[in-house]
């Protein structure tokens, strides 16, 4: 039913080749940084989409999982010299467990109520981390310098390795999401989004599938968090746990098109350059002009294209047929 056409495979292959060649073609670190941020937020959006877009659990608290991932690997590295790749998996597991713990009491919350609970959860995590001495409290953690190597998850001479790792992570999350979307689980999550009654009447264990979606989403989000920590080499609660990150993740997904595998990727590709460029070009003036442009754009999209850009492209594609 959802098998790709030859043309779609060709387009995907061409895009991948272009992305693989990109680091060779550009000079300077800003274009690299920009693409890494696009990939990062695309991955965060894809992960959000599994619970928000497919299952209708509008989480405005993804920063909690992002921060838990970043903090777990960084704490293990700074305090116990645990390799960040192991920390990456540990962070995923811790985030998934946290997701399960918060998911149980929220298992019957829907719509706005779920969104409010997710904000509360993320704020609790942020405030707690801000005061938790063991992990540096408000001062945060600094990732110790190590030799440049893939094993150490650390590179000094070029951003290219980070670029390729992040691209790999994004492809992994896309793989997970499209597996979820096309399998029984995807059907079940969409039924749950429609309503718990209609899902139950089809024999769907609503709580179980919601939990699975939250945990998968949290795991992937935490992976992105570890990447971010290894990339920026410093983290504190204000850089990974704040609400604007959660909002950005939702925006990327909604703009691109929630409930479609590629939607958040499109959203990140549009939104991140705008937010990064307006921040760099206009942010220093202190007038908030960057945020005004950014906000206007979001309003226009939500009014005129609530299906997201991907939804718009699809309706055009359907008309052509």
């Amino acid at each position: 039913m959802r098998t790709l056409t030859k043309r779609q495979v060709a387009v995907a292959a061409a895009v991948l080749v272009l992305l693989a060649l990109y680091p060779l073609a550009v000079r300077g670190s800003f274009p690299m940084h920009l693409m890494i941020m696009v990939f990062l937020f695309a991955m965060l959006g894809v992960s959000w989409n599994i619970m928000g877009g497919y299952a209708g659990m509008f989480s405005f608290g993804q920063a909690a999982f992002f921060g838990i991932g970043a903090y777990t690997s960084s704490f293990l590295l700074t305090a116990h010299q645990v390799n960040p790749w192991i920390g990456l998996l540990a962070g995923g597991v811790v985030a998934a467990v946290a997701a399960a713990l918060i998911g149980i009491p929220c298992s019957n919350l829907r719509g706005h109520y779920f969104a409010i609970a997710s904000i509360a959860f993320a704020e609790i995590v942020r405030i707690h981390f801000n005061n938790w001495k063991l992990i540096g409290a408000a001062e945060g953690l600094t990732i110790p310098m190590q030799d440049e190597s893939l094993k150490n998850f650390m590179f000094h001479s070029s951003k290219a390795p980070y670029y390729y790792i992040m691209l790999g992570f994004l492809l992994l999350s896309l793989g997970v999401c499209s597996w979820v979307a096309t399998s029984r689980m995807g059907f079940y999550l969409r039924a749950i989004k429609e309503g718990h009654d209609v899902a139950k009447v089809l024999g769907i264990d609503v709580v179980r599938y919601r939990m699975a979606a939250i945990m998968i989403s949290a795991f992937l989000t935490a992976m992105a968090g570890t990447f971010y920590a290894q990339y920026i080499l410093y983290l504190d609660p204000e850089s990974v746990l704040i609400l604007p990150i959660s909002v950005q993740i939702v925006l990327v997904s909604m703009l691109g098109g929630a409930g479609s595998v590629m939607g958040p990727v499109i959203g990140a590709a549009i939104l991140l350059p705008i937010s990064e460029v307006t921040r760099v070009k206009l942010g220093f003036k202190g007038s908030g002009l960057d945020m005004i442009i950014y906000g206007t754009l979001i309003m226009l999209i939500s009014v005129y294209q609530p299906q997201g850009v991907w939804g718009y492209l699809r309706t055009i594609g359907a008309k052509k047929k």
């Binding site: 039913m1 096309t182 399998s183 029984r184 059907f187 079940y188 969409r190 039924a191 989004k193 429609e194 309503g195 009654d197 209609v198 899902a199 139950k200 009447v201 089809l202 024999g203 769907i204 264990d205 609503v206 409930g259």
Partner: protein, 245 residues
Amino acid sequence: MSASALLDVRGVTKRFGGLLANDDVSFTVSEGEIVSIIGPNGAGKSTLFNCISGFYRPNAGTVRYRGRDITRLAADRICKLGIARTFQIVQVITDMTVLENVMTGAFLRTARNGAARERAEEVLRFAGLHEKLDAAATSLTIEDKKRLEVSMALATKPSLLMLDESMAGLNPVELRQMIALLRRVRESGVTLVIVEHVMEAVMELSDRVIVINSGRKIVEGPPKDVVVNPQVIQAYLGDRYHARG
């Protein structure tokens, strides 16, 4: 209360605050039957459906299915055991196509896409919706939506199908088609319990009719006996009207 009853409802009572929605309702359904539950608006028919299908927990009484107590089971577990139902207000998955909706039901018995699709197509052919496979669920007429909802329920391979007012709002032609569909469902080996106001369908389809009024079962019997029963006429039309005996 034969041991062979497919469904055995005993003394089901459901209260909402001071309101007694179901009061000590008992009845059984045997395999292969079509049983209709009728009664005036607000009599407690839908509540009874919800008590049987696991959406409500009755305050008292038991529901047995194939001899097994299912009173406290969750709705999805009950569906898995083989009791499917529809809702009074049609419930389909709005952002899915017709086929995807029915596949979602079929996934209860298989994890494989291919098998679910096959089952869904088979059910849709059976229900006469096969030509609208790829239509968006929201684009269907009310009749087709009701067919779709029945198809989704059938895709879960139930032994017992409970339909809540599947005839309401249909025109005479659509009504004939829906009655024919339910006949075919019964012939395929599925037992039916229907809540219905459309008496034409009730009279034609039912082996037995159960009449509920103010939460209580007042009469049970073959359709032609029930409609002339003085208690039933009184329940629908009030005290001033009585059947001429």
